[in-house]
Structure formats: structure tokens, C-alpha cells
């Protein structure tokens, strides 16, 4: 095995992700190459920094700080306004349709069955957008 191959596979060796054969070959190279051993030591210590950072010290004031910040920032609360907006729009549409149908009944002889055949009865039965989709936050990734 060459040093360049060690550079390519070392992290997987440290993580235990290599096949037994590959692992054996890499270990053999490390035994005979001091440069790669020094690099291995650096890699182990760098990745080891994760373990050190995982140790989160106790912080009795943390919750207090969060609640204090929350009280100083206006809280975004559930608002009924969007619901009312869509309800009002639906009411206007329904009112408009009924008014239109009333006028149509006065001026034409079109039967309700014929209107249904033309698909008009579905006009005001259209499914509204589900309310939750107005409030849904999408936590998408950015890669």
C-alpha cells in the first residue's frame, strides 16, 4: 500500500468502516511508515475533539435565559386572521354563485339537472386548501 492510499482511506480505517483485508493492509503500512503514523495521530486527535465537545456542562440559568429572551421578543401566536380571510372569500364566492343562480333561474328555463351536467354545482363545492398548509414551515435543506 502507498502513502497516497492511506491518505484516502485513513478516516474510514479510524471509523472502522474498512473491509478486514483493507484494514490489515493499512495497518501494515502504518507499522512501517512514520510519516503516515504521524498523520494518523493527527487525524485521531482531530476527530477526538468531537468527543471533548460532546461534554455539555450543566447550566442552571439556561431555561431562565430562554424564557427571559422570549418575554422580550414578541411571541408569534396563532392567528385567526388567515382563517377569517379565506372564510370571507368563500362566503363571497358562495353568495355570488347563489345570486347568479337566482338571476339565471329568473331569466332562463335551465333546470338544476342541466346545471349539474354542465359541472356548475361543483363550482362552489371546490375543496378549500387545508388550513394547516397555511401555517406549515418547511425545514428544507439547502445543499
Amino acid at each position: 500500500m502507498k502513502c497516497s492510499e492511506v491518505h484516502k482511506d485513513l478516516i474510514f480505517y479510524i471509523e472502522g468502516d474498512l473491509s478486514p483485508e483493507r484494514e490489515k493492509a493499512l495497518r501494515k503500512h502504518l507499522d512501517s511508515c512514520s510519516d503516515c503514523r504521524a498523520y494518523e495521530k493527527f487525524m485521531r486527535q482531530s476527530l477526538g475533539a468531537i468527543e471533548m465537545k460532546k461534554d455539555v456542562p450543566a447550566d442552571d440559568e439556561f431555561a431562565g435565559k430562554v424564557l427571559e429572551k422570549m418575554s422580550s421578543v414578541p411571541i408569534k401566536t396563532f392567528s385567526i386572521a388567515p382563517v377569517l380571510k379565506y372564510a370571507a372569500a368563500a362566503a363571497v364566492i358562495v353568495l355570488g354563485v347563489f345570486t347568479g343562480m337566482g338571476i339565471a333561474n329568473l331569466t332562463t328555463n335551465t333546470s338544476t339537472d342541466k346545471l349539474a351536467e354542465a359541472g356548475e354545482e361543483y363550482y362552489y363545492h371546490d375543496e378549500m386548501e387545508p388550513i394547516e398548509s397555511f401555517f406549515l414551515i418547511k425545514y428544507d435543506e439547502d445543499e
Partner: protein, 191 residues
Amino acid sequence: MLRNNNDTEERQLINALVAGNESAYRIIIEKYRESVVRLCMGFTGSYDDAQDLAQEVFIEIFNSISKFKRRSSFSTWMYRVAVNKSLNFLRKKKNLVSMEQANETVTPANNNTSAEKNLEISDHARALHTALDRLPGKQRAAFILSKYDDLQYAEIADIMKTSISSVESLLFRAKKNLQQSLLEYYKNNMK
């Protein structure tokens, strides 16, 4: 049975959060503070920044709790908020650094402050954070969730709304890129 009890407890706790119950806020913070701070450590590399960011994460969670539709577990949703908030933090920080770099000739004192601060950080932690900083967002998130919070691939897949095989692929690429960055750092600074 135990799971049912836990589910009921969690449901009650979420209901209390939605109702704005302060005790519920404190219970959630107590339960998840370490996990969130650890995750934030992975993103920021500094304990002080991680503390500030974790506080912001909890505020976001409490303010957005009405948007939690219970389609996933609370912790999955919480991690999603935390990852999102952390990636936003990094974006803002990057913009700030770019602005500071642009002003470097005007305010050279910034350089000294930064150099002094860097001296406090160990070489290995700095090398790791430099390498993590160069990872694309998704690779970084998958790596941090796996290594800092010790989450299983299935949990990471849920949080990132992707498949387990995608998580495996993200982690493989993250390790490859980290290795490349660490090798460069080693050759430039340690040899």
C-alpha cells in the same frame, strides 16, 4: 405499554406547550438542552456561540409549536428546527465574515482579536472545525447528527426527510471531504 405511557406524556406536554405553560417550557428545555447544545457545538465550534444558538432554537420551537402537526415525533421535529436554525446561523455568520474581510484594511484591529481568540482553541479542534466549515449543508448536518448527537441513520433520515441510503451516502461523502480538508490542514500547519 411503556411506549404508550411515553406517547401520552409527550402528547400532554405538547398540549401544555401549545397552551403556553411555563412549566412545560422548562421540562422541554431540561429534557433536550444537552442534545440541542451538542448539535449547535457541531455547527458553531464554540461553546458560547452554541449556547446562544441553542437558546434561539428553543425560542423558535416554542414560538412555532402550533406548526408542529405531530406527523413525526417531537424530537424529530425539534432536531429539524435546530438544524434549520443552525444552517441559518452559519449563513448569517458567513455574510458577516465576508463583510469583516471587506473592511479588513479599515479596521486591522479585528485581525488581532481574531488571532488571539484562535490561539485559545486547540490545533485539533480548530482543524476539525475548519474542515466541518467546508462541508456542504446536508453533509454537515448528517455528520453532526451522527457524531455529535449519536443518532441512528433512521432517525437522521426522518429529521432530514430522506432515505437511510441517502444518509449513508451523505456520511460517506462527509467523511471523504473531512479527510481531504484535514490532510490539507495537516500538510500546511502541522508538518
